[in-house]
């Protein structure tokens, strides 16, 4: 007839039940012994008609009305009676009862009798209560489904777990459609004959917030009778957190090996790189130090040899011996230079050269480096353009490439070096990053070696990348080549066929300037002078030699063994024309400070630095900024004489053009107008020399070492042009320029930069700013000023 929906009801059958029969027509109640027992009624009340009010006799006052209503329903024709109620028996105790009954209808569907069973469920009620609390606390939702029905009996927690509004029953589709496709129904409407359990996990989408959750289902299939009917009794609970953790763990496990491996690789790689770079650093320092000392020694030898030349004049054999010795010194100095380059202590000193001539010059060196198994062929195009590049670096690059080639060929093969003109067009430039279209001189080094496989060809320029076994090669060669080429505004490209050979092409930008011909230092008139030179050198022998050399040239020489002493000399007020100082000096005060102080006291004094070992104090970005005079050790007497004259000339004194070293194709025309220039440059030497140039050109210059000073000046005076270094301490050059323009809109902007890229800015003035590439010379400044002032001012 009717099915009881209480999930635990199948337990009721086990308990002994009392029974009743309510005759509706006669309005009489019959009860049995157990019923009487449960109600605490006397046995005499059994099996005899009782007033129907007896049914309600023991019912607890709080449940009485509810029960009357329920019974009324039955008497009215309702089919289901399944109620729990409390009864209070004579001894005062309260028990929970569960009554299950049905109405028997007559032919006209009129209710005739209301019969049922009564069971004591006090214990079960308590257990249920505990269970309900536990389920609610544990987030467990209970359900019971009787097959064939359209709805499932559920607990509130069940509804909540699925994001549904709490209801005592839910339609099966309402529940099942929350389950993601592929997981099967949460409430199956059909079960297989073998299925016994309801265990399962489902990915559901909550009804209220559409959040995905993992829901576990556990329960039992209770089969009823032989007709195939069944009941599903079970619970669900949320396992999303566990699932997430599970997945994470699985992913971690899967990738654990990989991650450990990559972690190891990274460490190893980092360690290797660190070792390598430390090695490099150490070696660099070592070689740098050695080279420096070596240079000093060479200086002494060379210098004395020079002096000796005068003493052995007339003695032919002695002179020959002297020449040999001098040549050896020259070679030694070249070696030192290479060592310095290796230790990266050599500043780039670009010169306009003809690569053809250079390549012919290194032919000898290459043959020695490559050994006899390698055939070298050199092809130099006619009409070769000039290029502006550091000679030593080109030689190094060639050496590196040659050695790589030799190794690739295993000491046996052909090496071809070609030099020619090339034009890189817009299409080429578009295809290659950081390449400007234009005219280039290209050096191509080709070998017949094993070639480079396509997979690693991208990496060959990376520092520390080497295919040579451990211990052979540093992996730095190609990266140095790359660095130097890029620094020189060029481009390098590798072509390789694995098993066939490799070609490395170095493109260096063409320069239209005339070649800086190295004046043959062995010959030519040596010009001296009568100015006063202050020599500052801590090495006694070197100092001695230098003093002799300079005195011989006719100059009046003062000496100091360190900066302090030099300053003392300055203090005396003696007039000095040139300070000749080693850059690296012991003691607290640096030579640059000396130079600055000298400038202050003696504005007309020139400063010439010398060093075998340059430091950042006068080198900017690896390149020697022009304007800072440096004479590298070791130098010949001729070189010294010429340099001194050059430096003295640059002070503004008229000079003969014979020893003009800066190969200017055109004389700087100079700006017709006298302009008020504000120079902002933090590098002392550069600033000093630039001021010099500007004043020589006839402009009024104010200088500032940083942005703050610059702004102060901008607030006091009016200027026409501002030349600002892009990388200033504290404020970027372009920022300063922007501020400057807002203060003085008529200002033209020139940016001085060592990096090639002008700063960009939103303002027009910045966009129209002129770039002055370091190292710049007088003519560069002139050009820049001209360009800057040809642009209409912003008003």
């Amino acid at each position: 007839m009717t099915e009881d929906r209480n999930p635990l009801d199948h337990a009721i059958a086990a308990a002994a039940s009392g029974s009743w029969e309510w005759d509706i027509g006669l309005d009489r109640l019959w009860i049995d012994e157990r019923f009487a027992e449960l109600y605490g009624l006397d046995a005499t009340q059994t099996r005899t008609p009782l007033p129907t009010s007896t049914f309600f006799l023991r019912i607890h006052r709080d449940d009485k009305t509810r029960m009357r209503i329920a019974v009324a329903g039955m008497l009215g024709g309702s089919e289901n009676f399944s109620k729990e109620f409390r009864i209070q028996v004579p001894d005062g105790s309260i028990r929970w009862m569960h009554g299950r009954g049905q109405t028997i209808l007559g032919v006209k569907d009129e209710p005739l009798r209301f019969t049922g069973l009564l069971v004591d469920v006090t214990d079960r009620k308590r257990a249920e209560e505990r269970l309900r609390i536990a389920q609610k606390a544990g987030g467990i939702g209970a359900f019971e489904y009787i097959d064939g029905f359209a709805a499932v009996t559920v607990s509130e927690e069940f509804c909540r777990l699925l994001g549904l509004l709490p209801a005592p029953a839910l339609p099966v589709p309402t529940i099942n459609r929350l389950v993601t496709q592929g997981y099967g129904p949460l409430i199956p409407e059909q079960i297989g004959d073998e299925d016994a359990e309801l265990a399962g996990e489902f990915l559901v989408t909550r009804s209220d917030d559409a959040q995905p959750r993992w829901i576990a289902r556990r329960g039992e299939i209770i089969r009823e009778g032989t007709a195939g009917g069944y009941r599903l009794v079970g619970v669900i609970y949320d396992i999303s957190a566990a699932k997430a953790a599970e997945r994470e763990l699985r992913e971690l496990n899967e990738t654990l090996e990989d991650r450990v491996q990559s972690e190891i690789d990274e460490r190893l790689g980092a360690q290797a790189a660190l070792r390598q770079s430390q090695k490099m650093e150490a070696v660099g320092q070592l070689t740098g130090g050695v080279a420096h000392d070596f240079n000093n020694v060479l200086q002494v030898i060379g210098g004395n040899l020079q002096l000796l030349a005068g003493d052995v004049a007339g003695n032919l054999r002695a002179q020959q011996r002297l020449q040999t010795a001098t040549a050896a010194v020259a070679r030694g100095s070249r070696l030192a230079s290479q060592l310095l380059a290796f230790g990266r202590r050599q500043p780039l000193a670009p010169k306009v050269i003809n690569l053809g001539r250079l390549i012919r010059g290194v032919d000898d060196m290459l043959r020695r480096a490559l050994g006899e198994g390698v055939e070298i062929e050199t092809i130099i195009s006619g009409g070769l353009w000039n290029t502006l590049v550091d000679v030593v670096q080109v030689e190094n690059a060639l050496l590196n490439l040659a050695i790589n080639a030799r190794d690739a060929m295993d000491g046996q093969g052909n090496l071809t070096i070609e030099v020619g003109n090339a034009f890189l067009d817009d299409r080429y430039a578009a295809r290659h990053a950081q390449v400007d279209p234009g005219q280039y001189v290209v050096i191509a080094v080709t070998d017949t070696g094993c070639g480079i496989p396509a997979e690693i060809i991208e990496q060959v320029f990376e520092p520390f990348f080497t295919t040579k076994p451990e211990g052979q090669g540093t992996g730095l060669g190609l990266s140095m080549v790359y660095g130097f080429v890029k620094q020189s505004g060029g481009h390098v490209k590798i072509y390789s066929e694995f098993g066939q050979g490799t070609t490395v092409r170095i493109y260096l930008p063409r320069t239209r300037e005339l070649e800086d011909v190295e004046v043959d230092t062995e010959a030519g008139p040596i010009t001296g002078g009568t100015e006063t030179v202050l020599v500052v050198e801590d090495d006694e022998q070197v100092r001695g030699t230098v003093i002799d050399l300079i005195s011989e040239l006719g100059y009046r020489v003062l000496k100091a063994k360190d900066v302090q002493s030099a300053l003392a000399v300055l203090e005396t007020g003696i007039s000095i024309d040139l300070i000749f100082t080693d850059v690296v000096m012991p003691g607290q005060v640096r030579s640059t400070e000396l130079a600055r102080q000298a400038r202050e006291r003696l504005p007309n004094a020139a400063v010439l630095f010398t060093s075998g070992y340059t430091e950042n104090s006068i080198v900017h970005g690896g390149r020697l900024d022009e304007g800072v005079e440096l004479l590298s050790k070791p130098y010949t007497r001729e070189a010294l004489a010429q340099k001194i004259r050059q430096v003295l000339r640059k002070r503004g004194l008229p000079a003969s053009s014979a020893a003009r070293q800066q190969a200017a194709a055109t004389e700087p025309t100079g700006s017709p107008l006298r302009m008020r220039v504000l120079l902002v440059e933090d590098e002392l030497m550069i600033r000093l020399s630039t001021v010099d140039i500007l004043e020589k050109l006839g402009h009024a210059v104010s200088e500032a070492a940083n942005a703050t000073q610059a702004l102060e000046l901008l607030n006091k005076d009016t200027f026409d042009v501002i030349i600002a270094d892009v990388s200033l301490p504290g404020m970027r050059g372009d920022e300063l320029a922007a501020r400057a323009i807002s203060l003085q809109p008529q200002l033209r902007v020139i940016f001085a930069t060592g990096y090639g890229l002008p700063p960009t800015g939103a303002q027009d003035a910045l966009r129209r700013a002129v770039t002055l590439q370091k190292p710049y010379g007088e003519h560069n400044i002139v050009d820049a000023l001209k360009t800057a002032t040809s642009v209409q001012p912003l008003q």
Binding site: T2, E3, R5, R61, K64, T65, R66, R68, I69, A70, A72, G73, G76, G77, S78, E79, N80, S82, L105, D109, I146, G148, F149, A150, A151, T153, L164, L165, A167, P168, A169, L170, P171, P173, T174, S207, G229
Partner: protein, 211 residues
């Protein structure tokens, strides 16, 4: 929502019983029509706001439904629906025509049969409830509609926006025939006080003068 107009436990019990009686009668009639066992669930009754009713309906939304709809008016007004998943409707028709029609006739009779079945079930249910409350209701002619929940449970235009809704859900099954469906009743209760009074009167009749 004003708690005063909600039903208290006793009133809910009483209303449940009244619905039970009505649905029992309907089930008995369905039994007669199909000649087989019909099982009923305990009705779930709730008075909710229209918003919540809409949500409850939305949750029970099944995509394709067939339903017989009957509106009623009186001391309380509303809409009763006898709903089947559409794939079950033909099965019901076969059941109520006692397997006497062939396939073609079945399809022809489907609309007919559904209407009549719905008529009997909904009428007996509503009429019984009306009798219990000693009221009379006017019923409309039942109508078969197909669609989703939105179509079936359209909110009536004459219901004030804030009027609460009695949401009743009871499901039944004809086991051997694999037919199941549910009866849903939406009642707008413009004056819940009036209904509460009716229920109170019912309770009193039933409970009598008691301790």
């Amino acid at each position: 929502m004003n708690p005063e107009i909600l039903l208290d436990e006793l009133e809910r019990d009483a209303l449940t019983e009244i619905v039970n009686i009505g649905v029992s009668r309907a089930a008995a009639n369905l039994r007669k029509m199909v000649g087989q066992q019909v099982l009923l669930s305990v009705p779930s009754i709730d008075i909710v706001s229209q918003t919540r009713a809409a949500r409850l309906i939305g949750e029970r939304e099944v995509s394709k439904l067939v339903a017989v709809r009957q509106d009623f008016k009186g001391a309380f007004s509303g809409r009763a629906l006898l709903i089947f998943p559409h794939e079950k409707s033909l099965e019901l028709v076969r059941a109520v025509t006692r397997d006497e029609l062939n396939a073609a006739e079945l399809v022809e009779m489907e609309h007919e049969a559904l209407t009549e079945t719905g008529n009997i079930i909904l009428n007996s249910c509503l009429a019984t409830m009306a009798n219990m409350l000693r009221q009379s209701l006017t019923m409309t002619i039942p109508v078969v509609i197909r669609g989703d929940s939105a179509t079936l449970f359209e909110v009536w235009r004459d219901a004030p926006a804030d009027a609460p809704v009695l949401f009743l859900y009871i499901d039944f099954t004809v086991r051997d025939r694999n037919i199941s469906g549910y009866i849903a009743m939406l009642m707008n209760i413009p004056s819940l006080v009036a209904v509460k009074e009716l229920i109170a009167a019912f309770i009193e009749r039933v409970v009598g003068s008691d301790d």
